[in-house]
């Protein structure tokens, strides 16, 4: 057993590290840079029922130790993803577990995508993106209302043949209320956090920098918020968590696992250093040794025993 291995429903991962949705496309570009078989898994870009162009540009802005994005779920549509994107990954990186990020404007959208892509021969798991702040309809509106989140999750769990993870929004007064509501719909786990809503203005034009006005804040800036929310949900719910939000160093990964995560995803850091996931996987064992951590699994067990 590898000291890096970690197990979640549907995801027996050789290490806890995966690129986060929207920060690795469909693996085609990163696949040119390093062997994606090395990754714990990959969370591909959001899939919607139809192709989606997304928001007008500018879509990104810089912030202190972070960035705003308002991509708007641009993707070629679930059919195309199934037809070309997933086969590319399966053929080139047969050992790589794929997690499909599912989005939509209505419950029917989500269910339709889950029905099509939520098949064991296609993906290992589904990540329900009910927390995207950058679309006018759907997205985050599902993720901030306990009842809607519960119903959507229930419908998607029923529609999918693979484990369903629900991606939580940090833009809520009480994330535990939402998580507990969702837990009743029997998903496999949570992924968290999606981006915080933020904004920047251009001093010359005196207008928002992003064409969409607002965007999602990601990167190191949000790490302490992510750690807090992961910890809260970990204490309140029994489901495993794939943690994300601001990871850039091996230490961040261990800190997030201590907070309550069972695996982690790396988002923004890929946009700054496309080799980052590979580097983190290489560097993690030495950092674990520094802090007397024998294995990821032992760290998780010891954490759970204390509480």
């Amino acid at each position: 057993m590898s000291i890096l291995a970690t197990n979640l429903p549907g995801l027996n991962l050789k290490n806890p590290i995966m690129p986060a949705s929207g920060c690795c496309g469909f693996g085609e570009e990163l696949g040119q840079l390093y062997d994606l078989n090395q990754l714990g898994a990959i969370m591909i870009k959001a899939a919607t029922p139809e192709p989606k162009f997304g928001n007008p540009v500018p879509r990104v802005a810089e912030t202190p130790d972070g960035m705003l994005n308002a991509i708007g779920l641009q993707n070629p549509g679930v059919a195309q993803i199934i037809k070309t994107k997933i086969p590319y990954l399966q053929q080139n990186f047969p050992e790589l577990p794929i997690i499909a990020n599912v989005a939509g404007a209505t419950e029917a959208d989500y269910v339709a995508v889950c029905q099509q892509i939520g098949k064991p021969h296609l993906v290992s798991a589904i990540e329900l993106n009910i927390s995207c702040p950058n679309v006018a309809h759907g997205g985050m509106s599902f993720g901030v209302d306990p009842q809607m989140a519960y119903e959507l999750t229930k419908a998607c769990v029923a529609a999918s043949e693979v484990p369903v993870y629900v991606k939580l929004s940090p833009n809520v007064t009480n994330i535990v209320t939402i998580a507990k509501a969702i837990e009743k719909a029997n998903p496999a786990g949570f992924t968290m956090i999606n981006t915080l809503v933020g904004m920047r203005f251009d001093l010359t034009t005196r207008q928002p920098i992003l064409a969409n006005q607002t965007g999602g804040l990601s990167g190191p800036a949000i790490l302490p918020v992510a750690l807090h929310m992961i910890h809260q949900v970990h204490l309140a719910c029994d489901l495993p968590i794939i943690g994300m939000g601001g990871i850039q160093k091996p230490e961040d990964i261990l800190e997030m696992i201590i907070a309550g995560a069972d695996a982690v995803a790396v988002g923004t850091a890929n946009l700054i250093d496309p080799f980052i996931c590979n580097k983190l996987i290489q560097a993690l064992p030495a950092t674990m040794a520094e802090y007397n951590i024998e294995s990821i699994e032992s760290l998780i067990q010891q954490r759970d025993k204390i509480e």
Binding site: G25, E29, F53, G54, R59, V60, I71, Q74, L271, P274
Partner: protein
């Protein structure tokens, strides 16, 4: 292939008001680089990288050159970097200017506006070395912002226009094209500059089979994974400036 090389700042020079030339030594200079490709540079204190056209590749001396104008916090920080500073530089990125299809001794028009010049300088060097015949139109806002006129002039007939007429001709780059570059027919046209310039060139050469512009866009990754930098295409599709461009045929994208 894309590399993330650690390069060393070996030269920093202000070549016009607020415009700097920076030479970066290291492995990148030995990579196969096509004129028009760019690099994405990690600057201390900035969270996103900054994209810059590759202005010159000097394989022998082992450096690449970029030319940048100080316009915000990132470029301001760059201008402060001491010689010897090490920077992570991702590249070479994107597709450059298509040039292999040119006929022998082709006549080529280069149209540059302001800091659109850097990638065109490398292009000009390479085209001249291949024996093509170059006409070069350079636009700048004003006299103290003019740079690289002589560098370009060594490779072809070069004329300059400034918005305010403080140096050589006065007017927009389109005026200069009307004035001095409208009689010849060119085998290819390559342009880079601010959006109005690129729009004008796109309209003027809309029917030209070999007219190319290098587009600009706010980027994050620079390698095609984040979809920050998209432009619309006429068929209602889209292209990513970083990985499908930055060079496009003038009819390929909607600026």
């Amino acid at each position: 292939m894309v590399f993330d090389d650690q390069l060393t700042v070996i030269q920093q020079k202000e070549i016009a008001v607020g415009t700097f030339e920076m030479c970066l030594a290291g492995e990148m200079a030995k990579r196969p680089i096509h004129p028009g490709q760019f690099v994405n540079i990690q600057i201390p204190e900035a969270s996103l990288r900054r994209p810059f056209g590759i202005a010159e590749v000097n394989q022998q001396a082992g450096y690449i050159k970029i030319i940048y104008r100080v316009v915000g916090a990132g470029t301001e920080a760059m201008a402060q970097l001491a010689l010897g500073t090490k920077l992570q530089v991702l590249g070479p990125l994107g597709h450059g200017f298509p040039i292999d299809q040119l006929p022998k001794k082709a006549t080529v028009l280069i149209v540059s506006g302001g800091t659109g010049l850097p990638p065109l300088y490398e292009l000009t060097r390479v085209l001249a070395a291949r024996g093509h015949q170059l006409d070069i139109a350079l636009g700048f806002p004003t006299k103290n912002r003019v740079f690289y006129e002589e560098n370009m002039a060594q490779f072809g007939h070069t004329e300059v226009i400034t918005d305010d007429g403080t140096y050589q001709n006065k007017g927009l780059i389109t005026d200069l094209l009307d004035q001095s570059f409208s009689t010849k027919s060119y085998d290819a046209v390559y342009a880079c500059g601010p959006r109005p310039l690129e729009l004008a060139v796109s309209q003027r050469f809309a029917q030209h089979p070999q007219a190319y512009i290098s587009a600009e866009a706010r980027m994050a990754c620079g390698i095609g994974i984040c979809n920050a930098c998209v432009v619309r295409t006429p068929d209602n599709g889209y292209k990513k400036v970083c990985s499908d461009g930055p060079v496009f045929h003038v009819n390929e994208v909607i600026l």
